[in-house]
């Protein structure tokens, strides 16, 4: 080929070398292979989904820790209720002996009454300003004591929280189910026991104590829900932690760059650039005139 002017070829070689150098530097400094969607449209689009999943997993993790506090509060409230009920059962057993004086019975009844108000107070436990045993009525105390005994003002509603894709857990047990379940009515049986002790009827007191004892074991079985859910939350936290790690590594595969390789590429690009410039400096000034004696 009749080469007349190398300037164009040389310039485009220089631009190409400088472009490569810039790309390599950008990848090294950002740590990313994909710095704009056109670098790899598919990876960029998948990165959008990956980052969304990561944010979602973070949210699930946050949900599980928030719920942990709620469940611990509920669980320890129930533990206290169970302690109180055990105390009431032994008081009832004392009342059933039939050898007590009236004043002793009255004192016994007062103690059981005290247990009752303690249980009501525990049933009105709140967590971060919300009553946790009121079903979905969380803004006012679910249990109130009046002339007709204790009444439940909450609802039977249960809430769900999502803790993983497609996985939600029940976040509450309504107070009515825990403390006033027909047949295993904790509060009702306490009230019944107070009346029986006050009346001085050992048989009625013994019966009421048995009923209370049954209600106690019912409540203990209900408490298992909270224990189970907490261990489920713990498991889920581990799973979410693993998922988060996996997603980060997937993101790195999608858009990240191997730092060692990127550093090598920068060096390579710089060497190439220098080689092109050095070659250009040698080739461009050369014409026949360089070899002709002046004035010939």
């Amino acid at each position: 080929m009749h080469v007349t002017n190398m300037m164009g070829t040389v310039l485009s070689a220089i631009w190409q070398a400088e472009n490569n150098e810039q790309t390599a530097l950008e990848q090294l400094s950002s740590g990313k292979r994909v710095n704009r969607p056109s670098d790899d449209p598919t990876a960029a689009a998948e990165d959008v989904l990956n980052l969304s999943q990561q944010a979602q997993v973070d949210q699930y993790t946050q949900n599980t820790s928030g719920l942990n506090g709620l469940f611990q509060t509920a669980d320890s409230a129930l533990a206290s209720v169970i302690d109180s009920l055990n105390q009431a059962v032994s008081l009832g057993t004392q009342g059933a002996t039939g050898t007590l004086s009236t004043s002793d019975r009255q004192a016994l009844a007062a103690s059981i009454q005290g247990v009752l108000s303690q249980v009501v107070q525990l049933a009105n436990t709140s967590y971060q300003g919300s009553y946790i045993f009121g079903g979905t009525a969380v803004t006012s105390a679910p249990f109130s004591s009046g002339a007709n005994g204790v009444t439940y003002n909450g609802t039977d509603g249960v809430n769900q929280a999502t803790i993983a894709d497609g996985m939600s857990i029940q976040t509450n047990v309504p107070g009515s189910q825990l403390f006033m379940q027909p047949g295993s009515d904790v509060i009702g049986s306490l009230e019944q026991l107070v009346t029986a002790v006050q009346s001085g009827d050992p048989t009625a007191t013994a019966n009421a104590t048995t009923v209370l004892s049954n209600a106690l074991s019912y409540l203990s079985s209900q408490r298992v829900f909270y224990g189970n859910t907490m261990s489920q939350l713990n498991d889920e936290q581990t799973t979410l932690g693993q998922e988060s790690t996996d997603l980060k590594s997937e993101e790195n595969t999608l858009v990240g760059v191997d730092m060692a390789q990127a550093a090598t590429e920068v060096t390579q690009a710089q060497t190439d650039d220098q080689a092109v410039l050095a070659a250009a400096a040698r080739v461009l000034p050369m014409t026949l005139l360089n070899y002709l004696a002046p004035g010939s």
Binding site: M1, E46, V48, N63, V138, G157, A161, T171
Partner: protein, 455 residues
């Protein structure tokens, strides 16, 4: 004696021919870096021989014409490739600006969407919490802001492209005026059989500049070159050029008219074609995708709101607007201003979070596009990136082939300093030899005179 006279005459012709050749070489060297210049050569011819008896003698040399060395097929390929390169480059530049709006996946509409649904999700741990409800409103507000700013920036890019359209049309009009004027100078010379040389170079250069802007058809006529746009609208006929005009359409974008007819959609080549492709196709399609995402999300979320009850026990109200139409993304707004408006409850009681399931389901509910909101956005990022990547690849590929074609043309029409220097030496030697002939004839003539004087 007649032999000597002839020799003198031939030597003089030789001197003149070498002088002219030197002039051509000098002009080539002077124009070595002139864009569009085609190397010239002097056509030297023997003058007709004369007979003396049975012998035929040469009578010397004459310069026939100065010829420009060009390859019209190559020039046409270059015009065509220049046009493709201009198109791809314009698209690539514009689309790189567009994709910059989507280049950080940790910001913008995509991450806002996720943050919004996460804030709704968080509400399930404490549905009555006012701070958590407030954070749902804040996340929704961020989403609306990013819809607005994305649309506003895309609009700005579109308006800048619109300015480019007007500028390109002005440049086209200037070039066609100049080409028509050159046609007027070239045609008479060609009709006389003369080479128009540098004038043609200038016209070729202008046509190449015109090809950079739009696709051009070149037709040779005896009145010079006739130029038309890719679809046949006349730009130059002989010495007459036809100016293109621009006028805004209903949406304020400049449309291009030739003699009253709107030819905007037919202009596909060159920078102008590339600019128009992004302004009238890529960007409107992107904006329409954003509108679909915004309005679809609004419609689905509003519907989910209405299935539940707010913190005060009232049925949920519309949360976002608008739910349909062009420009939905630009006018996307959060209607709810009170944190209590989020319809988390399914039974009307404040503490219920039963309807959050419905609100969260919107995240996985298909929009009109058939995709979930985030998949829809992810596709949009893919499309923007893909368009830009294609335009960049085209720009770079056409740049390479343009470079090669130019190298080829240079090897035909370009000036080689080495070659011209060698020619200079050749012409110098020939000139010196011819001068020596004259000096020899002079000396012989002196000898003859001396004989006659002394004799």
């Amino acid at each position: 004696m007649s032999g000597l006279t002839n020799a003198l005459s031939i030597a003089t012709q030789g001197l003149m021919a070498q002088e002219e050749a030197l002039q051509v070489a000098t002009n080539n060297i002077a124009n070595a870096n002139t864009p569009g210049y085609s190397r010239e050569v002097l056509d030297l011819e023997e003058t007709p021989p004369v007979s003396q008896g049975a012998l035929w003698f040469g009578t010397g040399v004459s310069a026939d014409k100065v010829e420009s060395i060009r390859d019209q097929m190559l020039e046409l390929s270059i015009d065509e490739t220049t046009q493709q390169q201009g198109n791809a480059q314009a698209q690539s530049t514009a689309l790189q600006q567009v994709e910059a709006l989507f280049s950080d996946p940790t910001q913008g509409i995509g991450s806002d969407l996720t943050a919004f649904f996460n804030s709704v999700n968080q509400l399930s741990t404490d549905p009555t919490s006012i701070p958590q409800r407030q954070s749902v409103l804040t996340a929704a507000g961020n989403l609306a802001n990013d819809f607005h700013s994305t649309v506003a920036q895309v609009d700005t890019i579109q308006q800048n492209l619109d300015l480019n359209v007007t500028q390109s049309v002005n440049q086209i009009n200037q070039l066609t005026t100049q080409i028509a004027a050159l046609n007027g100078q070239i045609a008479p010379l060609q009709q006389l059989g003369q080479s128009a040389g540098t004038l043609e170079d200038q016209r070729d250069e202008l046509i190449q500049q015109l090809s950079q802007l739009t696709s051009v058809q070149v037709i040779q006529t005896d009145q010079g070159e006739t130029l038309a746009t890719g679809n046949g609208t006349a730009l130059v006929v002989g010495t007459q050029s036809f100016a293109l005009t621009t006028a805004p359409n209903a949406s304020g974008l400049q449309h291009i008219f030739a003699q009253g007819a709107d030819i905007t959609s037919t202009l596909t080549g060159g920078q102008l074609g590339g600019t128009l492709a992004v302004r009238d196709q890529s960007i409107p399609s992107l904006l329409s995708d954003l509108d679909g995402l915004a309005s679809g999300l609004a419609a689905n979320f509003n519907a989910a709101q209405k299935q539940g009850f707010d913190l005060n026990g009232n049925q949920g109200q519309n949360f976002f607007a608008p739910v349909a139409g062009a420009g939905a993304a630009g006018s996307f707004q959060v209607l709810a201003t009170d944190p209590s408006a989020i319809a988390a409850s399914s039974d009307g009681s404040a503490g219920s979070d039963g309807n959050l399931t419905n609100l969260l389901a919107v995240q996985n509910q298909p929009l009109a596009s058939g995709e979930t909101p985030l998949d829809d956005y992810s596709n949009l990022v893919f499309n923007v990136g893909n368009l830009s990547a294609q335009a960049q690849a085209n720009a770079s590929a056409t740049q390479t082939s343009l470079q090669q074609l130019n190298n080829q043309l240079d090897s035909v029409s370009g000036v080689s300093i080495d070659e011209e220097t060698a020619n200079l030496i050749r012409y110098q030697n020939a000139y010196q030899a011819a001068a020596r002939v004259i000096s020899t004839v002079d000396s012989l003539t002196q000898d003859l005179f001396n004989i006659t004087t002394t004799g």
